[in-house]
Amino acid sequence: MISLIRSINSNEDYKKRLILFLKIFIALISGIITILWIILDKAELPNQIFKMIVGVWIMGLALLSIPTPRKEKLPQIFSLVEIIVISCLWLFVEVESKGVEIFMQNGSLTLVNGLAFSMLLFLMTSGFFLIFGLADIINFAHGAFFMLGGFMGYEVYLLSESFLITIPFLGNDPVLLSFICFIFGLIGATIILGLIGIGIEVTTIRRLFRKPISQILLTVGFLYIILQLTEIIWGPAIFTYNYVSGSQTGIFWLPRSAILDLGGGMRFEIYRIFLILFGLVIAIGMFLVLSRTRIGLIITAGIEDPEMVNALGIDTKRVFTLVFATGAAMAGLAGAVAVPQVNASLDVAGNYLIYAFIIVVIGGAHFGRFAGTFWASIIVGLSHTFCQFFYPGLESIILFLILLAILTFKPGGLTGEPM
């Protein structure tokens, strides 16, 4: 075994050909199996996992075919064709078996939900990515920031509601009231988390500048502290806004029944559409800041070569403080905006930390570009939601399979380099 690996390693040419061969082989086999599976009805094959693996290989191969700077495009073209054929077949079978109406309903609903989730993930992960890119710090406290943002947003919401409800003009209009309070909640969470971020960075993380391993441990310490403090303050309960129209306070402006009906069975929750738009606006804003302003350029440059940026006379420590605070603030914002969907509770911290890991790696961790994080968020969000809907129970496995598939073929992720 090892001698085989060795021989492959030593012979570059042979290795390349072997990988090419493997790629084509995997694409071929997985394609055939998937087509068989679709034709033979989904329940036939023994193991669900097996099916998922096949599906994921195909997704991975599809993703490979998007950015193609390399010379050997054969497997990529191959897999692209295969994807198209398989998707057509899948569509056909789905539509045949369930009818156009239901298929459209399910498909479009999942798409919107998936996109909303993606935007949420993007909001949260953008800060994680910047912190990681600039200083190599894997911020274990990021999920905790996200969670804390949820609680803060919720608290600020209730607080501002209790103030504003006395104003007759607002008190009579619950929808407007809750909308304004929600916005206040978002702003509040962003500011509070930003301040916490600055505090953490200035008092501790800055002191271990350029010792990423020790800094990671600091963030673990803060993860514990935030988690436990949250539990002490709010208890283990799950918090979310009220949707019952009878209750007086904490009513959310977009209850689950607030639905946008486009006809043809396509009905979407307005909150999700709001989430998509909100996420897009923030994303575009961040892109503009990163590519147009001086500070944005410095951050972009800092991700590529922090030392050289320092040697150009820029105080990278200060820039990093800013980025860390912004990252925490963005996580807080994401947490606050997510409360109607994911609730404010303690489990959120761990789960979303892992999402952040996955997205950053798929998007390109080392020397990755910001766009990579955006696309990775969309991939993760969509595949998670689709899987949840069509193959419930496998949604968490699929993310890791996607990660494996992408990293096998592009070790640096979508945009990064493998160090």
């Binding site: 894997i138 803060f222 502290i225 436990q228 996955i358 494996l404 493998p418 160090m419």
Partner: protein, 496 residues
């Protein structure tokens, strides 16, 4: 320099006994510590006592230590940050469960059930190494953090797989699986064999006492000898010192004293203990022996040419490649070995804990733990991960009660732990052992040369004393704290 060549010349003439005694005197500190650790269970009998509870606790700590060491072998030695360490731990734990109980479906389950108990550890190690090969194979293309994440992905994949509804039977779900305890662990014959082994270790210790009595007295009465460096006295002088009859007498006296202390307990165990009473001491010895084996193995590994290449890779992989080494081969081996050790930790955990569940063994919490132990203790210091593991586990265990003595609600324990971690890493950026080593180097030389005329070989005394002190502290910490608080309260009550 001179003595070095001398000893080279004498090498052929040395008998086995002198070789052994040389080996012993070269490792005085470790042998003292090992002896104390091995002796602990013999100080308990078939009654419940705090020491017994403490021994049980120590077993848990040492398992954490093994796990930390497996992590350090990658991060500290090879520079591979591995977030998927929990996969090794989990696979080790579960393979042990599958071996000990008929859980798995027919073909594989039957084979695993054939493996008798101590060999299950080997099976677990083997399984861990297989996972290690898979993870290590990715190091060909993944470097730095990318490797950390892909390892995490592999680990999470295994976790998610175990948590699937279809696999509930083999994973035990949320509540986990419970193992039947192996027969060997609750058996007085094994206990007696272990006792013999402990007495053997004890006699090694006594030889050590005899050998260096003269030097030690010199230490006790401070500055009796004229100042001289560690290597200046000749071979002849050393041998003559072992002939001093008084030191033989003292040695035998120590031996008999310890036996007198211990034998009643052994007899008591033999006469009155039921099977279950043997579990804690036997398991403790098993774990302690594994710790030693792993420690020595890793230590030998790191000073071997292989280990040097690993450290070289950690520092600058490209250079090592340029020197013509196939770094991939070294990295994959490093991950594989580490996987085996991690699985051993998991396996011992199963035997020790009886109950195993997926989130506890495969979860990301385990991976974070491994990282905490290693970084807090000191990367790449071998001893550091152990110190970190014991410290963290200990403070986790004590924190709630510790807070109670200051009438703080127990809920705050994790907050305080977090604060402690942050403080430790702020003041010891290279971990406790790592930073202390850096700082104490100057102190050490000062002590050795100027202050008390203590030589390197005399450190084991200090070690022994401080170890005993720490043990005492650990056993009665909260009472001591309570006393201190009481004293303070009394003092404050004087000022109305």
């Amino acid at each position: 320099m001179v003595t070095h060549t001398n000893s080279n010349k004498n090498k052929q003439k040395q008998s086995i006994i002198t070789k052994i005694s040389d080996l012993i005197s070269a490792n005085q500190v470790s042998i003292s510590v090992i002896t104390v650790l091995y002796l602990l269970p013999l100080l308990t009998n078939s009654e419940l006592s705090p020491l017994r509870g403490f021994i049980n606790l120590l077993s848990g700590f040492m398992i954490a230590g093994i796990f930390a060491l497996s992590f350090d072998l990658q991060l500290g030695r090879t520079g591979l940050l591995n977030f998927g360490q929990a996969a090794f731990f989990g696979i080790g734990a579960y393979v042990t469960v599958w071996c000990l109980d008929p859980i798995l479906p027919s073909p594989l389950g039957d084979i695993l059930n054939l493996i008798p108990f101590p060999l299950t550890l080997v099976a677990a190690i083997f399984a861990g190494m297989v996972v290690g090969i898979v993870m290590g194979a990715t190091t060909n293309r993944m470097k730095g953090t990318a490797f950390a994440f892909i390892a995490l992905a592999i680990a999470m994949l295994v976790l998610e797989f175990m948590e699937l509804k279809e696999n509930l039977a083999i994973s035990g779900g949320e509540s986990g699986l419970s193992v039947t305890r192996p027969f060997l662990l609750t058996n007085w014959i094994v206990y007696m064999l272990m006792v013999l082994f402990v007495i053997f270790i004890l006699s090694l210790f006594v030889i050590l006492v005899v050998k260096d009595t003269r030097e030690r007295f010199a230490f006790l009465f401070l500055n009796f000898r004229p100042r001289r460096s560690a290597f200046s006295y000749s071979e002849k002088e050393r041998i003559s010192s072992t002939r001093v009859t008084t030191s033989w007498i003292i040695g035998v006296a120590v031996f008999i004293l310890l036996l007198i202390l211990v034998v009643p307990n052994i007899l008591d165990m033999y006469l009155f203990a039921t099977d279950i009473w043997f579990k804690i001491p036997i398991l403790y010895w098993l774990i302690l022996t594994s710790v030693l084996a792993v420690y020595i193995f890793v230590k030998r590994l790191t000073i071997s040419p292989f280990g040097r290449v690993l450290s070289a890779i950690a520092q600058n992989e490209d250079r090592v490649k340029a020197l013509g080494y196939n770094t991939f081969y070294y990295k994959i081996l490093s991950v594989t070995i580490s996987g085996g050790i991690g699985a051993l930790a998991g396996s011992l955990y199963t035997v020790n804990n009886i109950n195993v569940s997926t989130p506890e063994t495969f979860g990301i919490g385990q991976a974070i733990n491994a990282m905490l132990y290693t970084i807090l203790g000191g990367l790449g210091t071998l001893l550091g991960p152990f110190v970190g593991a014991v410290l963290i586990e200990f403070s986790e265990w004590r924190m709630v009660r510790f807070l109670w003595t200051f009438s703080i609600d127990g809920q705050w324990w994790l907050v305080f732990l977090g604060i402690i971690y942050i403080f430790i890493i702020l003041f010891f950026p290279y971990g406790i052992v790592g930073s202390l080593q850096l700082r104490s180097r100057s102190l050490k030389t000062r002590i050795r040369e100027g202050w008390f005329n203590i030589r390197e070989t005399d450190y084991w005394w200090l070690t022994l004393i401080s170890l005993v002190l720490i043990l005492a502290l650990m056993l009665d910490l909260e009472n001591i704290m309570k006393r201190i608080v009481e004293i303070f309260e009394q003092i404050f009550s004087l000022f109305p």
